[in-house]
């Protein structure tokens, strides 16, 4: 039985936006439960606006205005005991948790590197922000070793970001983010901006990190289910601020239970023969406005199987056996 690393229970986080003279509340994450185990690569899949990036920040408790943490608990299990992140101060999080227990690679991280600093400087800056006193030589040596382990050229450390190709930059970012050997790595759309060849190399880097036991598990967030599927052991599907389905990757793809998951899978083209004749179907409509989500099940306006109950009451998350969870009235036994 793999050890539990992360327990997220009923978290909600809203954005408060000033629009003219009134304040709009966007319920980006609204009642999410998540569990992460060792040696697991959990994929979180959802469209833009589903709240997945916000969820990443919530897990880290990286809450900055206009985001507000509304309710719930985020607990990580360290080597000796646990830490309740939602009750820690930013200072505590910065020195004890961020980078050391959990690391986040935000969206477009590879484009956010300061162009006038060499990778070496960036590495030193990152480490300095999590440890008050550092030995520069040691850090650079450690980084060089890590680069070697991940198949990156050591001389990349002495280069500027623009001298590296997109794929190499992203892999360098991953190497730097995991330098302090965090238990959990959260990657938000790490490969979306890359060409397919680089994408594959980036995924391999995550695999290598896990295999060499440098990190214990990964949360991989993306809108591209075909890419997530290549690396994730388990997947969560997120829609409109809530998780609608969870299960092992193979099962989820083979037999999706939630109509949204079904629609997602049906809309992805691939180079497998027969797809041109099969004709892809897609989900009509748009994701809802999270400041005014639909009543009942949030997916009901776009769902082909909507029943009367769906418009009125939100379906609960039920366990249909074998760690399969789904929130849909179609799967709730009377």
């Amino acid at each position: 039985m793999a050890a539990n690393l992360l327990s997220v229970i009923n978290v909600a986080a809203y954005y408060r936006q000033q629009v003219g003279t009134s304040i709009k509340t966007i319920k980006a994450v609204d009642g999410v439960d998540l569990y992460l185990y060792e040696k697991e690569i959990l994929g979180i899949v959802g469209e833009s606006g589903s709240g997945k990036s916000t969820l990443a920040n919530v897990i880290l408790m990286n809450i900055k205005k206009p985001l507000e943490f509304v309710k719930g608990s985020v607990r990580i299990y360290t080597g000796n005991g646990f830490l309740d992140l939602n009750s820690m101060s930013v200072e505590e999080l910065r020195t004890k948790v961020w980078g050391k227990e959990i690391a986040l690679i935000p969206q477009s991280a590879m484009n956010a590197l300061m162009p006038t600093l060499k990778i070496k400087r960036i590495i030193l800056d990152v480490i300095r922000s999590h440890q008050d006193r550092i030995n520069e030589k040691e850090v650079v040596e450690k980084a060089a070793k890590r680069f070697r382990e991940l198949g990156l050229p050591e001389k990349a450390i002495d280069m500027y970001p623009f001298e590296l190709s997109g794929g190499m930059r992203q892999r360098a970012v991953i190497a730097v983010a995991t330098l302090l050997n965090p238990r959990i790595l959260i990657a938000d759309e790490p490969s979306s901006a890359l060409d397919v060849v680089s994408q594959r190399m980036v995924l391999k880097t995550f695999y290598d990190l896990l295999r060499k036991n440098i990190i214990k598990s990964v949360i991989f967030i993306s809108h591209d289910i075909a890419t997530v599927r290549q690396i994730a052991t388990d997947m969560c599907v997120m829609y409109a601020g809530k998780i609608v389905e969870r299960g092992s990757t193979d099962e989820l793809i083979r037999k999706p239970l939630h109509p949204y998951t079904e629609g997602l899978i049906g809309s992805i083209p691939s180079v497998e023969p027969g797809i041109r004749e099969r004709k892809l179907k897609y989900i009509p409509g748009q994701p809802p406005d999270l400041s005014n989500p639909p009543t009942g099940c949030r997916f009901h306006p776009r769902c082909p199987y909507t029943m009367k109950l769906c418009k009125v009451k939100e379906p609960p998350m039920v366990n249909v056996g074998n760690k399969r969870l789904v929130a849909c009235w179609l799967h709730v036994k009377r």
Partner: protein, 279 residues
């Protein structure tokens, strides 16, 4: 566009800054009308401290200092505006031509820009002062404008060069827009905010530079400006002799005007740069 104006109007810094500035402008415009004393003619006894008859006292030549300060404010503001007008006009034309036409035109214009950038304004002013003995405020404003447009032209050129490659420019081109129409409708609005800010900064620069030139004696020879008041005050050693009513009012007004404009430009920066908003 409307959103920007709304944000501007509700920004506290902007309101404070622009109110103070407009107050000074009002003083400059209406002051001399309400107090129609000739600032340059003999009005009474010399070096009198402020009293009811002479609210800001008199200088060594017996001239009314309140009149001087009021007219001086008006003149200094006028010079500031003129400088900004000249600098922005030249800078926009050169920057736009260089940024949109590119090629040889760009090279030539940038060379000119670099040369002008390298010319020290003060030296030029001293040179001009030694050849033209009678200098009006317009000449000074022209001088200041002509020596300060380069950085702005460069900035405009840079912005336009990056805008040129944006897809919406291509799409407008393919819709049949002529170059001029393209420049006005697609490019100009995107640099408008920058131009606005630069204008404010140039007014500031103009007022301060004029004061600087006047104090060392190469400013305007006709009329009276805040800088010229300070020049007389320093020539007559007003500081050493404790004639505070001579140099404090003009100095204070310069400080207040430039500070208020700085506040306005900070506010504008906040609004136009969305990342600084929400503080």
């Amino acid at each position: 566009m409307k959103l920007v104006i709304y944000l501007l109007i509700t920004n506290k810094r902007f309101i404070i800054g622009i109110s103070i500035f407009l107050l000074i402008v009002l003083i400059g415009l209406i002051g001399p009308l309400l107090y129609p004393v000739d600032p340059l003619s003999f009005a009474g006894p010399m070096e009198v401290a402020p009293c009811r008859r002479y609210p800001l006292g008199t200088d060594t030549y017996g001239r009314d200092l309140l009149a001087q300060t009021l007219v001086g404010t008006r003149t200094s503001l006028y010079i500031g505006f003129l400088t900004a007008l000249v600098a922005i006009s030249i800078g926009t034309i050169i920057g736009t031509l260089a940024g949109t036409k590119g090629g040889i035109i760009d090279e030539i214009l940038m060379s000119i820009t670099n040369v002008v950038l390298a010319i020290p304004g003060i030296l030029l002013a001293i040179l001009i002062a030694s050849y033209i003995k009678v200098r009006s405020v317009e000449v000074i404003a022209l001088l200041l404008g002509i020596t300060s447009w380069p950085w702005y032209a460069r900035a405009i050129r840079a912005q336009l060069m990056s805008l040129r490659e944006r897809e919406f420019v291509y799409l407008s081109k393919m819709a049949g827009y002529r170059d001029i129409e393209l420049a006005f409708k697609d490019l100009l609005p995107n640099i408008a905010t920058y131009t606005f800010m630069a204008f404010v900064l140039y007014i500031n620069g103009g007022i301060l530079s004029e004061a600087g030139l006047s104090i060392i004696g190469v400013g305007p020879t006709k009329g009276i400006s805040l800088g010229l008041i300070l020049q007389w005050a320093s020539l007559m050693e007003a500081v050493r002799r404790g004639l505070w009513w001579w140099f404090i009012p003009p100095g204070a007004i310069i400080t207040v005007v430039t500070s208020s404009l700085m506040i306005v430009s900070v506010a504008m920066d906040e609004i136009f740069n969305p990342k600084l908003r929400g503080r």
